[in-house]
């Protein structure tokens, strides 16, 4: 499934300064029963966001109107646990296009890149700065510039660069995914398969 191109994103951000946020929190297993990729944003952080009787928990950040935006800033080791791509879908479907953290779990990061959510890994110090700026002023805007590979706190001008491999960067800039790439080299793949021992 192709997605919208990603170039420069300027937005306020939603802070979630919790470490080890696992994909069971991002989307609990009982919401994985769909056979289509629809509506996962409604259940993003379901059990942190809603009480058992489906009333919103007022102390959770997504229920706090003070914070909004297309950027989610998470604590260290964001997205650990289950490989469910539904977690990345939920983040995207809710309206986030970028997640910033000082450390990402592998599979979640890969899933995000495959569906058009940009994972931006920053230093722990820069992550702390972002949290502090948002706490001081929830309207703080952050700019994520993919062509330049930089993330900037606009108010203070503080900036850090982030890494992404050239191939994935091109994909994100163009809204392409790996499936397009692989389908184009199918001939090479079937040739390769003939030589394998197993």
């Amino acid at each position: 499934m192709a997605y919208d191109k990603f170039e420069i994103l300027k937005s306020t951000a939603v802070p979630l300064p919790i470490e080890n946020v696992d994909t069971d929190q991002i989307i609990p297993a009982r919401f994985l029963k769909a056979t289509e990729r629809k509506g996962f944003g409604d259940n993003l952080f379901r059990d942190w966001r809603y009480n058992g009787d489906d009333t919103p928990k007022s102390d959770f950040v997504l229920n706090n109107p003070t914070y909004s935006g297309k950027i989610l800033v998470g604590g260290k080791n964001f997205g650990s646990g289950s490989s469910r791509e539904h977690a990345a879908w939920a983040v995207y479907d809710y309206g986030f296009r970028c997640v910033i953290s000082s450390f990402f779990a592998d599979i979640f990061k890969g899933n995000c890149l495959n569906i058009g959510v940009l994972p931006v890994q920053v230093s722990p110090e820069f992550s702390e700065k972002i949290f502090a700026e948002i706490a001081a002023d929830p309207n703080t805007e952050i700019e994520v510039n993919l062509p330049n590979q930089t993330v900037t706190i606009l108010k203070t001008g503080e900036q850090e660069s982030f890494e992404i491999n050239g191939y994935k960067k091109q994909n994100m800039l163009n809204g392409f995914d790996d499936i397009d790439y692989l389908n184009n080299i199918k001939g090479d793949i079937t040739e390769f398969a003939k030589e394998l021992p197993l």
Binding site: D47, A105, I107, L182, N183, D188, P197
Partner: protein, 470 residues
């Protein structure tokens, strides 16, 4: 550059179709395991792009994640689950993929049936839309979990695109103490590394402890590799491995077997090959383990007390939130804490050796009245062995019932949900908030620790109950 290769290098490098400049490798996949929950959107993707499955004979489907564990002969009650099961059946049929659905004699948890039928083989690349695919690394395969976009890639092109991970070797030398199982070894390593300590790495386990371990024990260890953040873990194949797979339905036979053996025997890390990181632990430092928090890294020896926040490296707020969820306090002992549920099963500890271990403790004792116990075999084959070996009689005598195979309370997608606020001692792999049901509180442990809790109704050191057996 040195030509010495690690086991991981050998398998990975031989599967690289091509390297994308400033990007990932295109990696060929030998075996693709598919289940009902992470595949429907991938099949939909094939339809939308109007492509088929490139190698249906390298693809195997089983239903496990949302299946009920009682009355499997009746129609599945939950309409959404039933819908996913039907979608898998139809997709498998349409694309000519073998499908071991609910009720099929070979049905079971995807990572249990793969090895059982010889789909899992040394030197293979194996993926599945489930993070515990790392289980198959026990055979010297490169096996790891993938997302649904990647499931679609493998269906349509038999490849995925991933940068080659870094390499780590974890050595454990010496002999394991009395009452210490492969699960304890894994929980011990994770407690040392934390849940992100191996992120970006592929792990090879080496040393006496893994060499002496049974194949099922190796599967338990490799299964939990993902819980320290690793992509996967693997163990070099040896005589035990070949003995285990020989003669199984999907393993090569006759001349093909000899050819495969010639290849498999080359699958070990060359002397002098280097790792990006190497860790060594001593077997004698490991005791039966239990977790007290909300990630698998929050584990400790069962006789210890819950650490104080100040003594830890991580964030204090996150730690306190975690203990708050569990309703535990710093400095408390785990031994003696009352529990409500016991779950034995999952792809981590749902095999016959796990049920033998569990039974060895409950034999001649009775299930505690305050405990609800779910005993869920990993597959029909495991279920049959439990009956044939006479374990079922012993279990029933002790007041336990056996359920039908599936993932069950490991992820609580079906009705096997631990109620809010209740404590479950579980042999599965994740103690995340709500993993076993909204509000549930999970203590991860070995089948021995689970059995000791099941008969005493509280957290109990299994060695106490094993003394008379020793």
């Amino acid at each position: 550059m040195s030509t010495k290769k690690t086991l991981f290098d050998k398998v990975w490098d031989s599967h690289v179709v091509k390297h994308v400049e400033d990007g990932p490798d295109v990696l060929f996949i030998d075996r693709h395991l598919v289940h009902e929950v992470t595949s429907p959107v991938a099949f939909l993707g094939l339809k939308n792009r109007n492509v088929g499955v490139l190698f249906p004979n390298k693809t195997f489907a089983t239903a496990d994640h949302n299946t009920p564990t009682i009355n499997q002969h009746l129609p599945v009650k939950d309409p959404l689950s039933a819908n996913q099961l039907k979608a898998l059946e139809e997709n498998a049929k349409e694309h000519g993929i073998s499908h071991w659905g609910l009720g099929h004699e070979k049905n079971g948890i995807v990572h249990v049936v793969g090895p059982e039928y010889g789909i899992t083989q040394p030197g293979a690349t194996i993926v599945c839309g489930d993070s515990h695919t790392s289980t198959h690394g026990a055979f010297g395969a490169i096996a790891f979990g993938i997302g649904t976009s990647e499931v679609e890639m493998v269906l349509s092109t038999q490849c995925i695109m991933q940068p080659k991970p870094k390499k780590m070797r974890i050595n454990i030398e010496g002999e394991l103490n009395f009452g210490v199982t492969p699960k304890d070894v894994a929980l011990f390593i994770i407690s040392k590394l934390t849940t992100s300590g191996a992120t970006g790495y592929f792990v090879e386990y080496a040393g006496d402890v893994f060499e002496n371990m049974t194949m099922e024990g190796r599967m338990t260890v490799c299964n939990l590799s993902i819980e320290m953040g690793a992509r996967g873990g693997m163990i070099a194949p040896d005589e035990k491995t070949f003995e285990y797979i020989k003669g199984r339905e999907f393993t090569p036979k006759g001349a093909d077997w000899d050819k495969a053996m010639a290849y498999w025997e080359t699958l070990k890390t060359d002397e002098g090959a280097t790792f990006d990181k190497e860790l060594t632990f001593s077997a004698s430092d490991i005791e039966p383990m239990i977790t007290y928090g909300t990630n698998p890294g929050m584990g400790m020896g069962i006789s210890k007390s819950i650490p104080n926040a100040e003594d830890l490296e991580g964030g204090v707020a996150t730690y306190k939130k975690s203990l708050g969820y569990m309703a535990f306090n710093e400095g408390e002992d785990m031994i003696g804490k009352p529990i409500d549920f016991v779950f034995i099963g999952s792809c981590t500890n749902g095999r016959i050796e796990d049920f033998r271990a569990f039974t060895s403790i409950v034999k001649g004792r009775k299930k505690a009245d305050n405990v609800t116990a779910w005993l869920v075999p990993g597959s029909h084959k495991v279920e049959a062995a439990i009956k044939e070996e006479g374990l079922l009689d012993i279990l029933q005598e002790a007041g336990f019932e056996l359920r039908e195979p599936g993932c069950s309370a490991c992820l609580a997608m079906n009705d096997d949900k631990v109620p809010a606020g209740k404590y479950a001692v579980s042999t599965s792999n994740r103690n995340f908030e709500g993993r076993q049901g909204p509000g549930s509180r999970t203590l991860l442990a070995s089948p021995l620790v689970a059995a000791a809790a099941a008969v005493t109704g509280k957290v109990t050191d299994p060695r106490e109950l094993m003394k008379e057996l020793a």
